[in-house]
Amino acid sequence: MAEGLPDVSTDRPDLKFTADRISAFIDTLERLAGGDIDSTLPISPLHDELDAIAHGINVVAGELRWAHERMMASERVNAEIQAATLRDELAHLSRIATLDALAGSLAHEINQPLTAVSANAEAALRLVASHHPSQRELRTTLSDILSDNKRAVAVLQRVRTLVKKNALEYEPVDVNGTVGEVATLVRMNADSREIALDVDLATSIEPIRGDRIQIQQVALNLLMNAFDAVQGCETTDRRVQLRTSQREPWAVVDVVDQGDGVSDDAFRTIFQPFFTTKPNGTGLGLSICKGIVTAHGGVLEASRNPSRGMTFSARFPLWRSD
């Protein structure tokens, strides 16, 4: 019984029944005020004025529950939006860090066609100045200049795409083309480190729905990690494979290395933020990759190869328009 109410004589059961119902109202209102918003009042078979009040209290409690649920949902959504924004910021910074590590080989890759453009332009000038310039030779030289110019522009565009900080764009993505471009981007880096990069793309693979740049980032990080993993091996063992496949209902990107692998402890925590086995690693790369793959409804897994090294598999759900 609620405190402060007078005792009602047992010889007036009608009054006692009423007093008990009012006490229940007060108890319920106190519980609601204390935060127990699941409290409700029973409705008696009498359907009298007190039941009308009880119904009113239940309606208010229901409103409170609804408002509370909305508030919780809104907080959760806000927290999720904040986490996604943070993940995108980190992903962008990580892309820049990875490209920074690639800077030397990218400069070489851009410099190669530019040097050829310059040499071919001089050759063309000399041809034009000669007594009987060969039209065929001149045409081939100019066509080489165009091809090399396109090649340099393509490298720069690939870099620009990765450096740009775009809003996420979920669209149908061709996995082979997307990760194939990354393989082209890191090929020079692999060559300079005497790492054999085998690219084995599925002959046909259905599109996935996702953000192309973020998917490229996953492939970029996994490949650069794999290069680091095999760097200490003998030259003949420095092998990394990038392969794609379709395993219903997934599109799968595997990066396989022949490195030394990691210890049991490291394997357990490999995707945790700030975990790294590299002297200068941030420990964010794999964690960011996992976040990206998960945000695409996919799964990023690590496994040990039977022989040696590790395989990282990123699975993305296939996109079906129907």
């Binding site: 190669q112 066609p113 040097t115 005497e194």
Partner: protein
């Protein structure tokens, strides 16, 4: 007037289209005996073809241009090495000289400079030891 002797030149760079561009530029003044994209291939061709001059890119995926310089000296001391590089600094020029290159040409320089370097290297006597510091 006798036709001037042309140097027999082997070209080495990992970018095939640059080899083709060099061939176009140099053919009027040089006999291009080959163009290869790897340092290892280049070393085996030096043994086989004994070119007068070998033009080598510093940055190669398999064997560094500097290693090619050193190995060429062992395989055929008569072959002069012209080292070509996208980078240019005193340390590189110094290393090129120590490893046995007779000329150092940067990729940003005009192709004329490469041609001149080849001709100078070809006419140089084996005992001549030029300084590569800052002479392009």
């Amino acid at each position: 007037m006798p036709k001037p002797e042309r140097p027999r030149v082997l070209l080495v760079d990992d970018y095939e289209r640059l080899l083709e561009a060099w061939r176009r530029l140099l053919e009027p003044s040089c006999e291009i005996v080959g163009g290869v994209t790897s340092g290892r291939e280049a070393l085996s061709l030096v043994q086989q073809l004994k070119p007068d001059v070998i033009v080598v890119d510093l940055s190669m995926p398999d064997v560094s241009g500097l290693d090619v310089c050193r190995e060429v000296r062992q395989i055929n001391p008569e072959t002069r090495v012209v080292l070509v590089s996208a980078d240019d600094n005193e340390a590189l020029r110094d290393a090129a000289e120590r490893f046995g290159a007779v000329a150092f040409v940067t990729k940003s320089e005009a192709a004329d400079e490469l041609d001149h370097a080849i001709q100078r290297a070809f006419r140089q006597k084996p005992e001549d030891k030029p300084s590569l510091q800052g002479n392009g």
